[in-house]
Symmetry: C2
Subunit: 187 residues, 2 copies
């Protein structure tokens, strides 16, 4: 479909600006200008700015897990897969100039009445934890009783979250390097 090309461009530009400048600091005017489309076209595809936010979060979640799958696919050892998640987090932080986790950012600034966006963020975090749990289950299958699955999954998830926000505030990857080492010692 030709019509979805413009939709894609709108969403790409909006995503970049929402992430870099923040949702509230990004106006419709800037989006239409940088996407080189007209005001009416935007509202034709997205009835409101909030719909654009919803699409942004859903799109980010899909992209995030796709990238994980792609980059983890060549690795065979589930323990190395799990540790690779920290490398990917560092990669993302470096290429975004320490912009931080998009979902945490959105959760921090969305209007308190936007429950839809909040639920999408919650969903992403839950799926992330499940993703980690599945990797740990594979570790357990290959090497039974090597780790206490539930506690390790909890610990590594919380370490990752903490390291992401810390790396963002410190503007360097040290916290992620530390978190990876700690995670390694648990497995």
């Amino acid at each position: 479909m030709k019509e979805s090309a413009i939709r894609t461009r709108i969403l790409e530009v909006a995503s970049r600006l929402f992430y870099k400048q923040g949702y509230n600091s990004t106006g419709i005017n800037q989006i239409i200008e940088e996407a080189s489309i007209a005001r009416g076209s935007l509202y034709n595809h997205f009835p409101s700015k909030r719909d654009l936010l919803t699409a942004y979060i859903q799109n980010m979640e899909e992209f995030s897990f796709q990238e994980w799958n792609t980059l983890l696919e060549p690795i065979k050892d589930p323990k190395q897969k799990l540790l690779k998640l920290f490398d990917i987090a560092m990669l993302r932080q470096t290429r975004s100039e320490f912009g931080g986790c998009a979902f945490i950012k959105i959760a921090s600034e969305i209007p308190c009445d936007d429950l839809v966006a909040f639920d999408l963020v919650y969903h992403q975090k839950k799926a992330t934890k499940t993703y980690m749990e599945n990797l740990i289950t594979q570790i357990n299958i290959e090497n039974p009783q090597s780790v206490d699955k539930e506690i390790v999954a909890n610990t590594i998830f919380l370490l990752m979250e903490g390291a992401m926000v810390t790396a963002t505030i410190a503007k360097n990857n040290q916290a992620l390097i530390d978190a990876k080492k700690i995670a390694e010692s648990l497995l």
Copy 2:
């Protein structure tokens, strides 16, 4: 000084609104209305909204450490002091209806060019980690070689950060309960 009474009221109202609604979502109009003061009075005490933000962050940091000192003072065992920090985090989350860490929120939404605010957030996080390190040093003095100071401090700090953001997104204290248990097992 009588004059600082109105300044205090402005800062109180602004702080409440910045935390609850977000900095970008809170307008000057709402602040002056809820503080029942005139536009000019606000700009007399705070030359710009950004100065109000700076004062908010500094004030929050001071309050945060004061509360820690007060609530930890009755406890003698340094290990119990450290674990108490998780209880205080739960207390704060409950009383703010899971509003999250004020400093992480601000770091997520401030304009990218406001380096002053960003540095203040960085300063607070560094001070928080130092606070934890000092408690762990005391544990080591009472019970030498019980823990590897540097790694434990890193781990507990990252767990706390991760648990705070997770509790905020999940709107319950489970992550902080989990993090406390993990921290306890490390000490």
